[in-house]
């Protein structure tokens, strides 16, 4: 069973405190509600009942209906083993679906591999390189594998891609001497050898240090700002929250939900949080001001506050102060995707890392 996609028009950012700035809204068509996106023709990726059962009988992907709007940065979220990579392999024509259909850039896969894939850059399940070749020669090989790539512009495109991922200095080094982060970047460079309509990135920040992650995310935003649709799979909720405009959540081979990140995060109610040493007093005052579901904690109280008008919050704060509560902190904390995930599936997002 697939839950109905969420709808709504929440536009607020779902980023928690300290989150990196959200990318500017994608330049191409705005997020269409998923109901029409299924019928619309401008989806970069669309699947209908996509299913893969491996020879052992294991059902890796089960009746997937996915719609990735053009121009979106689409987060494909799920725990390890939930079927993300199998889905990506089907979309890229590497494995054949057991049943169902998938279209990429409007053409059926895997039948249209030769016409579709030159317009798609992909990083699948981590980088794979020829250790005995230099980074540059690795890119030359992958570029030579594309029959639509012009050999005359190859050296120049390779150098541009290397520069873009910050590997120019290490271009002549053998790839086996690369660190994992450098390998990841080289993989990304091979996805950027040509201007692409779609970038498929499977766990692009896996194994990177925080600095490397930031750099890769910045690059993803940059590519998205140029109008490339980015399909980003990850098991990291905060990564999706920071980078994506849309998201779909997979769990055990099934699609749990898809929609804009804001819609998904709106599923999780924001809560009012008061930080104070006078917990008992604060609870009394808050209860008197129609704050429900109060949870007193150590030096903090949180609860649900229904009032949404601009005056309500300052008034509530003033009431607390007037009652002698020493207010150290006061505000609404936004829901996160993790809250949404828990709310949607009733289960924790239980993955390592």
């Amino acid at each position: 069973m697939t839950k109905a996609p969420v709808t709504g028009d929440v536009t607020e950012s779902a980023g928690g405190p300290g989150a990196e700035p959200r990318p500017a809204p994608a330049p191409l068509p705005p997020a269409s509600p998923t109901a029409t996106a299924f019928l619309g023709s401008d989806d970069v990726i669309r699947t209908r009942g996509l299913t893969k059962r491996f020879r052992g009988g294991q059902l890796a992907v089960d009746g997937l209906d996915l719609a990735v709007p053009r121009g979106s940065v689409f987060g494909f979220l799920g725990p390890n083993g939930s079927g993300k990579t199998t889905t990506i392999r089907m979309l890229m024509g590497l494995i054949a679906p057991t049943s169902g259909v998938a279209t990429v850039l409007g053409e059926p896969m895997p039948q249209s591999v030769a016409t579709v894939l030159p317009r798609v850059g992909a990083l699948i399940e981590g980088p794979a390189l020829y250790g005995f070749l230099s980074g540059r020669d690795n890119l030359i090989r992958f570029d030579a594998a594309d029959p639509t790539a012009d050999p005359r512009t190859r050296p120049q495109r390779v150098d541009t891609a290397l520069e873009r991922v910050g590997l120019s200095a290490a271009a002549r080094k053998k790839a086996r001497a690369y660190s994992l982060g450098m390998k990841q970047r080289l993989g990304l460079a091979s996805a950027l050898l040509q201007p692409r309509e779609l970038l498929v990135l499977d766990e692009p920040t896996n194994g990177l240090d925080p600095q490397g992650m930031r750099e890769i995310r910045a690059l993803i935003r940059e590519v998205a700002a140029e109008g490339t649709t980015v399909f980003l799979s990850s098991h990291l909720l905060d990564e999706i929250e920071q980078v994506c405009t849309h998201a779909a959540v997979m769990s055990r081979g099934r699609l749990v939900v898809q929609g804009t990140v804001a819609e998904l995060a709106a599923r999780a109610q924001g809560r009012l949080v008061v930080r104070t040493p006078d917990v008992a007093r604060a609870v009394e005052v808050l209860a008197a001001h129609r704050v429900t579901a109060l949870v007193p904690g150590e030096d903090r109280v949180d609860g649900e506050f229904g009032e949404r008008d601009d005056e309500a919050l300052p008034e509530l704060c003033a009431a607390l102060v007037a009652a002698g509560v020493r207010v150290h902190g006061f505000g609404l904390e936004r829901g996160t995707l993790e809250d949404a995930f828990v709310a949607l599936t009733g289960e924790g997002f239980d993955v390592a890392g």
């Binding site: 392999r89 890229m92 024509g93 590497l94 494995i95 054949a96 591999v113 030769a114 016409t115 894939l117 030159p118 317009r119 798609v120 992909a122 699948i124 399940e125 981590g126 794979a128 390189l129 020829y130 250790g131 005995f132 070749l133 020669d137 030359i140 090989r141 992958f142 570029d143 030579a144 594998a145 594309d146 029959p147 639509t148 790539a149 012009d150 050999p151 005359r152 512009t153 190859r154 120049q156 993989g187 091979s190 040509q194 201007p195 692409r196 309509e197 109008g227 490339t228």
Partner: protein
């Protein structure tokens, strides 16, 4: 070359912006052939290939030295054509001796390594998936691998022949060559025959390249594919040694391998060589098709 020039070349001359456009690009012949060239580059850049060719080149040197040290006593060869006696009289015969020694074991072993690893090795390192999403095209990739395998056969045979010629020239006299049939031909003529023989030997390995490629599409482990291919060569040659198996022996791909010695007669006796080449073509057709049908339908999950 500037990008603007390149854009002009592909028919988007109206574009003033130097950045290449997003969207469909035409397939070009040069683009199509690029993978074949790159595959050769990849094969011969590998240390492994260089080591294999080096071993093949050392073999004739060893044979030459051993023959030189034993020139006192008469030397009888084992099963293959016995060129060794002639070698002492004419260094050119070391080419034929070395090829006859290398063909049953050393040459097929190196070819088995290269062909067996061709697809399986890429699957094992994961580079196969990136080639396929490039998209290399499965048929084109297999064709490039097969071409590189054939070129390796030529290079391997050439390594043996050239090293043998150099060693023979250094250790033994060169001059007019007395053929198996007893006729005598000039050195230039004999050199041409050596080139012809090397070509036939290289072509005799074509069937093995196809077999190796097929095995390579069956597994995700390069080592397993190499071992299986080399093991197959040995098994087939053992089978070929049983007279009881006369019914199948003419269909074993190793059966006519040593027929190249018939080219050292006057006139040249082509019967066995043509049978050999025909058999190789049949093996290429059968195992090439099998490799293609397997590779184009297979799930790439490595």
């Amino acid at each position: 070359m500037s990008r603007a020039e390149a854009a002009g070349g592909t028919g988007t001359a109206g574009r003033t912006e130097a950045v290449p456009a997003v969207g469909r690009r035409p397939r070009t012949t040069a683009g199509f052939l690029a993978l074949f060239g790159n595959e050769l580059h990849l094969t011969f850049r590998r240390m492994r290939t260089k080591v294999l060719l080096g071993i093949l080149a050392v073999l004739p040197v060893l044979i030459g030295v051993v023959v030189k040290l034993n020139t006192d006593g008469p030397h009888e060869g084992g099963g293959g054509p016995s060129f060794i006696a002639q070698t002492t009289q004419n260094g050119l015969f070391l080419v034929f001796t070395a090829l006859a020694v290398a063909l049953p074991v050393f040459l097929p072993m190196t070819v088995g390594v290269v062909a067996g690893d061709a697809v399986a090795g890429e699957a094992a390192t994961g580079t196969l998936r990136y080639l396929l999403v490039a998209p290399a095209g499965r048929t084109r990739l297999l064709a490039a691998k097969f071409t590189a395998g054939l070129v390796f056969c030529l290079a391997a045979t050439a390594a043996v022949a050239v090293a043998a010629l150099a060693t023979g020239a250094a250790l033994f006299p060169l001059g007019e060559v007395t053929l198996i049939s007893g006729d005598t031909i000039g050195l230039a003529d004999a050199l041409l025959r050596a080139v012809l023989v090397a070509g036939v030997v290289a072509a005799s390995l074509a069937g093995l390249v196809a077999i190796g490629l097929f095995v390579s599409t069956l597994t995700g482990s390069g080592i397993a594919a190499m071992a299986a291919t080399v093991g197959l060569v040995i098994t087939v040659q053992i089978l070929d040694a049983f007279p009881q198996l006369d019914a199948i022996r003419p269909f074993l791909f190793t059966h006519y391998w040593l027929s190249f010695s018939d080219l050292l007669r006057e006139p040249m006796y082509w019967d066995g060589v043509l049978k050999d080449l025909g058999l190789q073509a049949a093996y290429v057709a059968v195992f090439g098709s099998a490799a293609w049908s397997r590779f184009t339908s297979r799930d790439i999950s490595a």
